[in-house]
């Protein structure tokens, strides 16, 4: 930078004006502050009325937290609208007489810090009775504590990392860290092993190159696959880690090529794996890439195009369109023209929201047909969700002592003719 610092012309003359401007600034600030205070006061009074009253017009809010823009937003929007449809159904069929529900969806951009502040916002809104979300396990980690302190139920339709429900030492000593956290998705402990089993027995692959994105979900899943594949007798040709947001994988592709692997396993989201598979096939390495539910999205095929052909993904549950009970859900989703992808978690989000709504009904019935005061309502809903037992659109919805779903079905999908096609569905217990 230049040595001589040029003063803007007429700076000295401005001094006088500055004081005058300062004074008017003080007045302006005080006016604004007073105005804002008045407004917030009105706002909070409004909220209090809504939740405290047990009159016929009560409206409760179901919070949603998911990435609604940017990375992972295709699946994130599927969660938002899955919940929306459940809430619409509840209102239309009057599931909880005298209580209307509405959705408050917040965008976490797949960032843990944003998820945490969204959780705080949801907890702070007295009309929110429970939350569905988030999409990413790493985001969930930062939200669990917030919901737990507020005694508010949180049900994720998609988090699969085992530590979220079974604690850090889940392999040896399971213990539930947060009693307000539930999920309708099964865990990676099952998913990673299910994938390894299919790779070894179904695809007859012997040498896998394992890549992950260092996130809670991706690294956990890749580690479980790695262990399970070796246990079956397969060998690991190499491992590597990528950063989320990376775009150039040429060095990784060269390594995979040199390693002689006959498949790649990727733990992470579609945002990176679609680029890896494209660059892999571009370098004439025609081996399939396999991943978890994080890459089971139509976007993966749209972006990777021809390169996606033959790639595989495991996902929790059974394909939504093979579930007879999910037919009307899918029809509604399509007819409303909602954005995003209901395929992966839409139906699970519907069931998660339904579990909260049914819990509210159970609490109301147990309390003589009246909603308890808002501070008690939340903790009672947590207990009621724990006791959930009903037939949802994805199958039976009930939770074990850790908050995990008892529905342990998994499916392997493969890209065939530009579409995800289910190739194996099963329950994995091993």
């Amino acid at each position: 930078m230049r040595g001589t610092h040029r003063l803007p012309p007429g700076r000295k003359c401005l001094r006088k004006g500055l004081i005058v401007r300062k004074r008017s600034l003080v007045i302006l600030t005080s006016v604004l502050t007073t105005g804002a205070l008045t407004l917030t006061a009105c706002g909070s009074r409004d909220n209090g009325n809504k939740s405290g009253g047990s009159s016929s017009g009560t409206t409760l809010t179901i919070g949603v937290d998911a990435p609604l823009s940017g990375e992972n937003s295709t699946t994130g929007l599927g969660i938002q609208y899955g919940v929306q449809i459940a809430v619409d159904d509840a209102n239309k069929n009057n599931w909880v007489p005298g209580v209307k529900f509405k959705v408050k969806a917040l965008d976490d951009k797949a960032q843990p810090a944003t998820g945490q502040s969204n959780a705080t916002a949801l907890v702070g809104d007295a009309s929110v009775v429970g939350a569905v979300g988030p999409l990413n396990s790493g985001v969930a980690q930062s939200m669990q504590q917030v919901f737990n302190s507020a005694n508010m139920v949180e049900i994720s339709p998609s988090n699969t990392n085992p530590t979220l429900t079974q604690g850090k030492d889940w392999q040896t000593n399971k213990s539930r860290p947060y009693k307000t956290y539930f999920r309708t998705a099964t865990t990676d402990a099952l998913q990673g092993s299910f994938a390894a089993d299919y790779a070894w027995n179904g695809l007859k692959k012997k040498k896998a190159f394992v890549v992950d994105d260092k996130q809670t979900y991706g690294a956990g899943l890749a580690g479980i696959f790695n262990g399970a594949f070796k246990k079956l007798g397969g060998s690991i040709a190499g491992t590597d880690h990528v950063n989320t947001g990376d775009t150039d994988f040429s060095s990784l592709v060269t390594k995979i090529k040199a390693s002689g692997a006959d498949m790649v396993y990727y733990g992470g989201q579609y945002d990176e794996s679609e680029k890896i598979t494209k660059q892999l096939k571009g370098a004439k390495v025609n081996i399939p890439l396999m991943g978890g539910d994080g890459m089971y999205a139509t976007t993966y095929i749209q972006t990777a195009g021809q390169a996606a052909e033959g790639d595989l993904a495991t996902s929790v549950g059974v394909p939504a369109d093979t579930l007879p009970a999910a037919k009307s859900f899918i029809a509604t989703y399509k007819s409303k023209g909602y954005k995003g992808d209901y395929g992966a978690y839409g139906a699970y989000s519907y069931d998660a929201a339904t579990a909260i709504i049914k819990a509210v009904k159970a609490v109301k019935d147990a309390n003589g047909g009246k909603l308890p005061a808002s501070d008690q309502l939340r903790s009672k809903v947590v207990d009621a969700v724990q006791k959930s037992d009903f037939d949802g659109i994805t199958g039976k919805v009930s939770f074990d002592q850790y908050g995990d779903t008892q529905n342990k079905q998994l499916t392997v999908y493969q890209v065939k003719g530009g579409k995800w096609v289910a190739v194996k569905t099963g329950t994995f217990n091993g």
């Binding site: 930078m1 230049r2 803007p8 491992t239 880690h241 060095s251 060269t254 040199a258 494209k278 004439k284």
Partner: protein, 309 residues
């Protein structure tokens, strides 16, 4: 180590792309001492400009031989317009302001451009497919694609024309004069405002060339692509000596090769397993930057200039 030639080629290609973008940073800095942090987004808009030509203007099934030059023109027009517009409406009014003001403006502009594309370009909130040139050729043990060839040729042509332009043409010499001392240059009858516009325009066009290569190589673009590429290119410009156009290219290539080799081989060194691999590539790239700045604060090809920090 039999993968070394391939990894070097990978690094060289990535580095050429960094270098092309770095030119924009370095030229603008050389003339107005402004770090144009919105340059990454100028790169990004260039990619969307090229995509627009391909998807919405050209008829389906146009051969890539015809499409690529037209896409380059489309991307170039968009990038140059955005760069010149940024100069005219965001930076010129702040020319006499303290240095921090244009810097903050640049960051604001960068966010604005990202959000504009995300909100108003159809489908830009997630990756959009870009026509890729992925026919592969083998040269010895090295595989390269058509897109790679385009990138290398474009980088060479761009660099040599720029070198000629700056040294020989009347405008180029006026640029050098403005870089040395804008006030005196103005006294000698040089329209410095015009020179600054030309610097922004050249930077914008080079960014568009890089953006087109990016799309052809990776086959998809999104509204965030400019952030990381811009940051890396800025690093390359600093490493090579900011203000020096050859330094920008050299810095880019050094950075690209360093990243690729670090990602490929560091994990093979015994005891360094945890510090290698793709996820550590950026760390090693910045370690290299720190080393260069420690021992040659002016950058690889930068000159020690008394009145510049």
């Amino acid at each position: 180590m039999h993968t070394l030639p391939q990894q070097l080629a990978n690094g060289l290609l990535l580095g050429s792309m960094y270098g092309l973008i770095a030119i924009g940073y370095t030229m603008v800095y050389g003339i107005v001492q402004l770090i144009n942090f919105a340059h990454g987004e100028i790169f990004m808009t260039g990619a969307f400009g090229a995509l627009t030509v391909y998807v919405y203007i050209l008829p389906d099934g146009t051969s890539m031989w015809a499409a690529v030059p037209l896409m380059l023109i489309g991307g170039g027009i968009v990038s140059v317009l955005v760069a010149v517009g940024a100069e005219r409406f965001a930076y010129r009014p702040l020319r006499q302001a303290p240095r921090l003001a244009p810097l903050i403006t640049a960051i604001g502009l960068s966010l604005t451009l990202q959000e504009l594309v995300r909100n108003f370009y159809p489908g830009a909130d997630k990756s959009r497919a870009f026509p890729s040139l992925d026919a592969t050729h083998s040269i010895g043990s090295v595989d390269i694609t058509d897109a790679d060839i385009f990138l290398v040729c474009a980088a060479i042509v761009c660099m040599s024309s720029l070198a000629w332009f700056v040294r020989k043409s009347r405008t180029g010499r006026a640029m050098q004069a403005t870089a040395q001392d804008p006030d005196t240059a103005q006294l000698m009858g040089i329209d410095t405002n015009r020179i600054i516009v030309v610097a922004f325009a050249i930077g914008g066009f080079f960014a568009a060339v890089a953006a087109l290569s990016y799309g052809l190589k990776y086959g998809n673009i999104d509204y965030r692509m400019g952030f990381l590429m811009g940051l890396k290119a800025f690093t390359a410009a600093v490493m090579g000596g900011i203000g020096n156009i050859y330094g920008a290219m050299l810095g880019g290539v050094v950075l690209g090769i360093a990243e690729t080799l670090a990602s490929a081989y560091i994990s093979n060194i015994p005891g360094m397993q945890q510090l290698g691999g793709q996820s550590w590539a950026n760390v090693w790239a910045f370690v290299l930057l720190i080393l260069v700045l420690l021992f040659r604060p002016q950058g690889l090809l930068g000159e020690r200039v008394a009145d510049r920090a």
